[in-house]
């Protein structure tokens, strides 16, 4: 195929695309730069000095609050949500390869979870726990709230994966005498592994950054986004930006690990 000549349309659209990327990344860049100011720094440009003072201060005890514990809490919750989302969505994906009574109901229930305004999930779980006399905690109510957000994405991805899945490998394994369990662990799982990396990363980051569905139901121990939201009302130093920079770096590291793992598993595909 010969390369079509680049038209005026191409350059106009390329400019719009460039502006869009700038729009996405520009503000974040400013936050990173401003978190690298000296101790006398403020919330706006120009930068006052250059140091790692504010970034280091994130890891210490300080008057605006402590971030290591909420971070560890969010990280643990993210891992839990990730493990459950991957396991549950793979199981449901396997089930949806067959037609069964009630599959439409479960499908629409999942879609509903995706499009119900987040505050309803938060409010509903909060009131339900209240009436049942249960304590809201990050590992119970907030975990449930997070799953209502991550599972629909995970499930829809798994549906797509199993739609494209070539069953001949599995049938071959079965013809050679493999049990269902054997053919799953030795044939199906290695084949869908790259997609699972994607599901895992998506679930973890969605949970790690989740705010709206957890706002009312994380109990007395805040997750990191809730802690940061609390900061926005009373912090006027670059410490705010430093926390933002550190959590964003964590997100980027997770994405990088996922991409590396994805490439690793893709290279082992038949």
């Amino acid at each position: 195929m010969t390369k079509p000549k680049r038209s005026l349309t191409f350059y106009i659209l390329a400019a719009i695309f460039g502006l869009f990327v700038l729009f996405l990344y520009g503000p974040m860049t400013a936050v990173v730069l401003l978190s690298l100011q000296g101790p006398e720094g403020s919330l706006t440009f120009p930068m006052r000095g250059f140091s790692f003072y504010w970034l280091v201060s994130v890891f210490g005890e300080q008057r605006i609050g402590e971030f290591v514990t909420p971070f560890l809490r969010s990280f643990a919750l993210g891992l839990l949500v990730m493990a459950l989302s991957v396991a549950f969505s793979v199981m449901a994906g396997l089930a949806f390869r067959r037609h069964f009574t009630g599959s439409r109901f479960i499908f629409y229930l999942t879609i509903t979870s995706l499009i119900v305004p987040s505050i309803l999930v938060s409010l509903g779980i909060g009131i339900a726990f209240n009436i049942l006399g249960l304590n809201v905690q990050w590992y119970s109510s907030a975990l449930g709230g997070h799953l209502t957000w991550t599972l629909p994405f995970a499930f829809l991805i798994m549906l797509g994966v199993f739609n494209r899945f070539n069953p001949t490998y599995e049938e071959a394994a079965r013809d050679l005498g493999a049990s269902d369990t054997q053919s799953f662990w030795q044939i199906v799982l290695p084949l869908i592994a790259p997609s699972l990396i994607g599901v895992a990363m998506l679930s973890f980051t969605l949970s790690y950054d989740e705010f709206n569905r957890t706002a009312l139901i994380s109990g007395e121990n805040n997750t990191l986004p809730l802690e940061i939201f609390g900061m926005t009302t009373n912090v006027t130093s670059p410490a705010l930006y430093a926390v933002g920079t550190v959590t964003t770096i964590v997100s980027f590291v997770v994405i990088a690990i996922a991409l590396t793992a994805y490439n690793f598993f893709m290279r082992r595909q038949p």
């Binding site: 479960i106 505050i119 999930v121 599972l151």
Partner: protein
Amino acid sequence: MKTWKQLQTYLLVTPQTLVFLLFLLFPLLTIFVVSFWEFNGYAMSPALILGNYKAIFTPVYLATYLNTFKFTVIVWGLALAIAYPVAYFLAFHIHDLRWQIGLFVLCTIPFFTSNIIRMISWIPFLGREGILNQVLLNLGIVQAPVDIFLYSDFAVVLAMLHLYTLFMVVPIFNSLVRIDRDLIAAALDSGASGLQVFKEVVLPLSLPGIAIGSIFIVTLVMGEFTTVRLMSGGQASSVGSAIRNQIGSLQYPQASANAVILLLVTLAIVVGIMRTFDIRKEL
């Protein structure tokens, strides 16, 4: 053997279904029931009253609903206007698959970072001493710093676009890359102009993508309370932020009635979009 297979299917789908029954359906039913309860100033008690719903149909509340619709329509329109060219560029003007994936990932990465941080990141731009004010002062367009960039409806819309436009880009891109290129070649061969090809072939085939993106934007913006609160400095109101305030003062029955209406309105819009466009084949 057949029954075991069936049982196996149901066992496999049980965990996910339980999650949605316990943490979605049951809470929604609870909201519905509590919306008829009474509130005596400090606690709620079971009842069957319509007072919470009647309270919604007052001018103050209706204004809040109108304001929420306003945000939804503005953000939807602008998100579509931004997302379509971006998706179109990726789908039709980037021919190298590696570049296409790379640029697509570039657009999606911010989606994996914290919404709160992304809101905060507008402060250095829009604040009283922010970049925008400095530029305007230096150009002599304004004489004194303008306060209303941050903490205004403008800031709310800007931040929502920043957060949600991607939800429009992805479905549109998805439907654009699936368009059979032979259709376009055929239209061009039959003498259609570029604009005609767009109007008669590309646009109709991308409508399902627009519909899915619109559903995302509508449901996200209709239930918004964080962005509205943070970016308007507590000045603007939306149904979500009203619910949030009522929860803050423990008025669960009133908050629930509001939530029921919000859900019904949102679902009505979603069903309307789904009826208008056949999105089934995109799923």
